[in-house]
Symmetry: C2
């Protein structure tokens, strides 16, 4: 069961597109081991989401999504798009998210091994998400994160100076996440 | 080993103080079962932290901490305290945090049971944090969270209107977390 699922996951990864360059080497390093395969990943991102009602993140619509640092002009353009297309009552939030990798491990002891490596490399929020007879799923996750509400009803409440400050922090969070990926890669290589 | 650690944890809980009322019933409901004991918990909170340098949350100093909704006047008072006492380069962040409970389970199957209940009750970020011969630790955690930078060098960048908006959202996040605790309590009771 595990071997078959692993083969299919690796095939999908080889033929698929849309994987961030930043994270590909890490996925390869994990997938070269028979006891693991990766099921999903993101190298970290800055996103603008529009929520139809407060806190209803499930119903969020993406206004913009970047896997790299964002310039103030890019942010402003996206805010304008939102303001022009917004619906009454919608809230705009800026999120900065840490890298995330889901790894299926063939047993609990393999799961514990990669969990230990991830935590040691600075991914302190890593954990085991599920355990079944077929596989144990590990989530590799860091603590960096921002969740900032920016406005409602098409109106941005904060000043340009504050927006610049928030964006600078978001870019910092993103780059800190990418640096941790480098640390994770060298830790994984040492396991060989 | 597990039984002894459990007895000590329950004694510490019975004699300890500082446990939020909101969460005590849930801890009792978990701790009445021989296969579990709780090791730490928070019913959710709104905090102001001052960071000596960008993103260095490990070195954060608490400026204020509330386990209940916060009024705008309370927030303003705390911002003033920070501005009066700040050190050069320090950043002020407002965080709203979901409830969190750490549960030690005597084995993997007990851990999986409580993890399933927690996820079904809306605590979607719940996971297994560690697995050892002695115990398996489950973290019960929800997705609600805010991490908003407010200012630097003793200066708050955002307008009063924006601050009110952020605080309203933070209070909403807090109360949403508390409602989920009620859902978790009734789900745990059904397990009996």
């Amino acid at each position: 069961m595990f071997e078959l699922a692993r083969r299919r996951a690796l095939e999908a990864l080889a033929t698929g597109s849309g994987i961030d360059e930043d994270i590909m080497e890490i996925l390869d390093e994990i997938n070269r081991r028979e006891e693991y395969y990766t099921t999903s990943s993101c190298s970290g991102r800055i996103v603008l989401i529009s929520l139809p009602e407060a806190g209803a993140k499930k119903k969020a619509k993406f206004v913009a999504k970047w896997h790299r640092p964002v310039s103030f002009e890019e942010l402003q353009n996206s805010l304008k798009i939102w303001a022009d297309n917004m619906h009454r009552g919608e809230e705009l939030w800026l999120l900065a998210q840490s890298p995330i990798i889901h790894v299926a491990a063939k047993d609990l002891s393999s799961a514990k091994q990669i969990l230990k490596v991830a935590v040691a490399a600075g991914f302190k929020y890593s954990s085991i998400k599920s355990v079944s007879a077929d596989r144990t799923v590990v989530e590799i996750l860091s603590t960096e994160r921002m969740d900032v509400p920016l406005g409602i009803d098409g109106e941005i409440f904060c000043s340009e100076r504050f927006l610049r400050f928030v964006l600078e922090r978001a870019n910092f969070v993103l780059q800190r996440g990418k640096r941790k990926l480098e640390k994770l890669l060298s830790a994984l290589r040492k396991l060989r």
